[in-house]
């Protein structure tokens, strides 16, 4: 299925956010939002993803 990851259509076989994180090999400090809602890491395993879901993956960045 296609997921919109950081606004880019991306093919994925993941069923949940936990498997998506493994599939994308995301490491280090990061956080996720699914369809504009924050999902804490503790809920990744129980959060299912569906076709055309919008997923934001963010990491630390310089800021003022």
């Amino acid at each position: 299925m296609i997921l919109l990851i950081n606004d880019k259509p991306t093919e994925s076989n993941a069923q949940t956010l936990a498997s998506l994180v493994l599939e994308l090999e995301i490491e280090g400090a990061f956080a996720l939002a699914l369809n504009e809602n924050f999902v804490p890491k503790s809920q990744y395993a129980d959060t299912f993803v569906n076709e055309n879901d919008r997923i934001e993956i963010v990491a630390p960045m310089q800021g003022g």
Partner: protein
Amino acid sequence: MTTHNQAWSLADTLLQSRLLIGSALYPSPEIMRQAIQASESQVVTVSIRRQNIGDQSGQAFWQIIQSLGCHILPNTAGCRTAQESITTAQMAREIFGTNWVKLEVIGDDYTLQPDPFDLVKAAQVLIEDGFEVFPYASDDLVLCQRLVDVGCRIVMPWASPIGSGKGIMNPYNMELIRQRLPDTTLIVDAGIGKPSHAAQALEMGFDGVLLNSAVALADDPINMASAFKLAIEAGRLGYNSGTMPQREFATPSTPVLGTPFWHQG
């Protein structure tokens, strides 16, 4: 070096420095690190951004920031609605492991002026969710009051638009905010261009200053960071010492009595 800094409390955290510093726009990560160290700031502002898969630059940056041992103040820069800023704050809280958030909700792209309506709305939601909200506000007294009304213990009115370096645009408004909110921690955020601007803010009784561009875009960011450290110390010491009243006319500071060649009419 001798310092006149006295510990003060920011969100129940004891600090020596009254300078909060940003981590953006430096010529290099190493200059950023050295400038933040030279500033002796204990609070560093950071942000979050979309991560390209496989790009580890965010992790390298985060490691440098962690090595500085400062308190982290994540921001919601770039957000334009209450909902965007709330989600961004929640993601930042998980990444950085702090409940502090510099709440930015931009209402106008040209001036980067905050949207007062969504700012108050977002502040209220985030406070109810356990955040310590540091709202970036304009120098509007009523907006600052509303932020306090919804539970903000800290308010950060701008000196002038972000990155403009114009200093305190409207001293009357700023004095008024200080007078009317005596129990609120007030940090001047945005628009500071040079050390004298920061000293002026502290002389007015503001509790601290948050700045970024003025140091990062200086020809010599490391020395400019030291200059701001000293200016903020000077401003605070001046405020604590009580400034003399202004007078309309000259008054000699040297006693007139005993002046040679003085002939009284």
